[in-house]
């Protein structure tokens, strides 16, 4: 009998993703599920999905899931985790969710050092609602609400939430990665794994920001979307570890 070398992670349900072709969510879902499997925590993990394209994440993750109002995922997750510290709790949020309407909940969860893992998917637009400007939209980028390009003095500057969270004393691990190539996908998986391990070791707040492609709203092909991240988006949002104090006696 042939040896099985590739299979669906246990933490993913046998369901077909509703995401658009070329969208980064499917990859990030899979990576998160693989990490949950590898850490052996599926039976004690609770996920909190956002409002946005990933609102239906509970159709895919084979773990307990509790919905949150738009932007409030880290407050809801705080309630779950504090009430049941033995559970592993992660949020899965887009840029509008975590860095606009939920900025306060995010910064304060990090600042309290909540033992939570946040997966932050940054594609620079509000995808679900049709491609409006997000807090993370690049200067000059056209969206449905910045049809002549984002002008900072009218629309504000791109918000680097992860840098801000790196300043918060309660954050332990903050990293920015992408999913544009096999190499970057593997790096992302490593970062997600570490972000879960920080929680399992009771160290504090961990977040992985993943630059993700949105071919539909960017009106680019999948390949060109990946190219745009690698050549353009990373200039505003450089990849790498923003903060890591896991080795510093936390």
């Amino acid at each position: 009998m042939a040896k099985q070398i590739f299979k669906r992670p246990e933490a993913l349900k046998d369901a077909i993703f509703h995401y658009c072709p070329g969208c980064g969510h499917s990859i990030i879902h899979r990576l998160t599920a693989e990490v949950i499997d590898e850490l052996g925590i599926r039976e004690r993990t609770v996920g909190v999905p956002p409002a946005g394209c990933a609102v239906l994440a509970y159709n895919y993750f084979d773990v307990d899931m509790g919905e949150a109002p738009h932007g409030r995922a880290l407050a809801v997750a705080t309630g779950i985790k504090r009430a049941r510290p033995d559970l592993i709790v992660f949020t899965y949020q887009g840029d509008g969710d975590i860095a606009a309407i939920g900025t306060a909940e995010t910064i304060h969860a990090a600042n309290r050092g909540e033992r939570l893992t946040a997966i932050f998917v940054n594609n620079g637009v509000y995808g679900m609602t049709g491609g409006q400007m997000a807090p993370t939209t690049l200067i000059g980028q056209t969206t449905t609400t910045t049809q002549r390009g984002r002008a900072p003095l009218r629309d504000g500057y791109p918000l680097d939430l992860s840098q801000m969270l790196g300043v918060a004393a309660g954050s332990v691990y903050v990293a920015r990665t992408s999913v544009t190539s096999p190499k970057s996908i593997l790096k992302t998986k490593k970062a997600i794994k570490k972000a879960f391990q920080v929680q399992m070791n009771d160290l504090g707040f961990a977040l992985v920001e993943i630059l993700s492609q949105c071919p539909t709203n960017w009106k680019l092909s999948s390949v060109d979307s990946c190219k745009r991240i690698e050549e353009e988006v990373v200039k505003s949002y450089p990849l790498g570890v923003i903060k890591d104090t896991t080795g510093k006696g936390h």
Partner: protein
């Protein structure tokens, strides 16, 4: 247990703890700051309890939402402007069918208003308040001892019906000190097990707690389910107090602090020989509609007294229909009426309708 003199806000905190509440999140706002203060200290000695001073009212209600998903009895408290902020979360909690207790120690409004006692949030509390046509059970205490019983009852109702319950007081209820006694505390581990909580999938299928129903038919079915639940609550849970209504020819209808003032007014009018009593709704939703309608068999003239400009008045009118004449006296918040003032209104009306003869 012996009686002790306690401030209303502290009574709420102690009663909640004794009801098995083990999660509290809140944000400072006057006149209810003594609740988070009390909870922070009371929970400090309980290993299984969590107190969080949240960064906002929004965060506080959402933390309560998350905690409730795990099955723990959870509470937040605030005052009028803060409750407005919490309404988003309360709507979700109703839509997720989660139990939660929300205390509103009302103050003057609209906007920032002031910190004086008021009952201007009656509409907000009894009509759901937030979006989506949901309801919350609303309990209106009028004394320190009733703060004990209704706070504890709020947790039982929230669990029984998996619904948010509002304890609706005002600055006076929160600040007034009265002698109270408490029942023995409930051991939270002895409470009925909840078979819907998020606690990991070990040995079972995954669970989902969500208010999203994208399928139109599913959405409608869910709202019919909520409607059946609300009908059951309306049928079973309406509660009121009849005060000196035996043989009364005239009735005052008032709740909470206004009812407390009205009792003084009724006592004075009785001393003057007038046959008047008080009908006091204890639950504002469900409103004790049938019970009030039954009263109109003997009482044909009613005075509604509120610390607003006539909100419960609408429920009274709906309840009695054409069976009684309904009058109103109220002050819109900021200034508290005296029993003497209300007594004068009672007398004027009773003389007018020749009920003194």
């Amino acid at each position: 247990m012996a009686k002790q003199l306690m401030r209303g806000s502290h009574v709420i905190g102690e009663a909640a703890t004794r009801a098995g509440c083990r999660f509290y999140a809140g944000y400072p706002i006057t006149p209810q700051n003594e609740i988070p203060e009390y909870m922070s200290e009371r929970f400090a000695d309980l290993e299984d309890a969590t107190f969080i001073q949240a960064e906002s009212e929004l965060a506080a209600i959402n933390m309560v939402m998350g905690a409730s998903m795990t099955g723990v009895r959870a509470m937040t408290s605030s005052s009028s402007p803060g409750i407005s902020l919490k309404l988003e979360g309360i709507s979700y909690i109703a839509g997720m069918e989660l139990p939660a207790v929300i205390v509103n120690i009302m103050r003057g409004g609209p906007g920032l208003g002031n910190i004086a006692p008021s009952q201007q949030d009656y509409f907000q509390a009894t009509r759901g308040g937030g979006h989506g046509g949901y309801r919350t059970i609303v309990l209106a205490p009028h004394s320190g001892q009733e703060l004990v019983t209704l706070t504890m009852k709020a947790f039982d109702l929230a669990d029984s019906y998996r619904t948010p319950v509002i304890l609706l007081g005002d600055g006076l209820m929160g600040q007034m000190m009265e002698p109270v006694s408490f029942p023995d505390p409930i051991d939270p581990s002895k409470l009925p097990k909840k078979d819907w909580v998020l606690n990991g999938t070990k040995g079972r299928d995954t669970r989902l707690i969500a208010s999203l129903h994208l399928d139109p038919v599913e959405m409608e079915q869910f709202n019919w389910k909520l409607a059946r639940k609300y009908a059951a609550i309306s049928e079973r849970e309406a509660q009121h107090e009849s005060y000196l209504l035996d043989g009364a020819r005239f009735a005052v209808v008032a709740f909470g602090t206004a009812a407390r003032i009205a009792k003084g007014a009724v006592n004075r009018a009785r001393e003057a020989g007038l046959e008047v009593g008080l009908f006091r709704p204890v639950t504002l939703w469900p409103f004790p509609e049938k019970e009030l309608r039954a009263l109109t068999r003997t009482v044909k003239h009613i005075l509604v007294f509120e610390m607003n400009l006539g909100q419960m008045l609408e429920d009274v009118k709906i309840s009695v229909g054409e069976q009684a004449s309904v009058h109103f006296h109220g002050r819109p918040g900021g200034v508290i009426s005296t029993p003497h003032e209300v007594e004068n209104v009672i007398k004027k009306l009773m003389y007018k309708y020749e009920l003194d003869k």
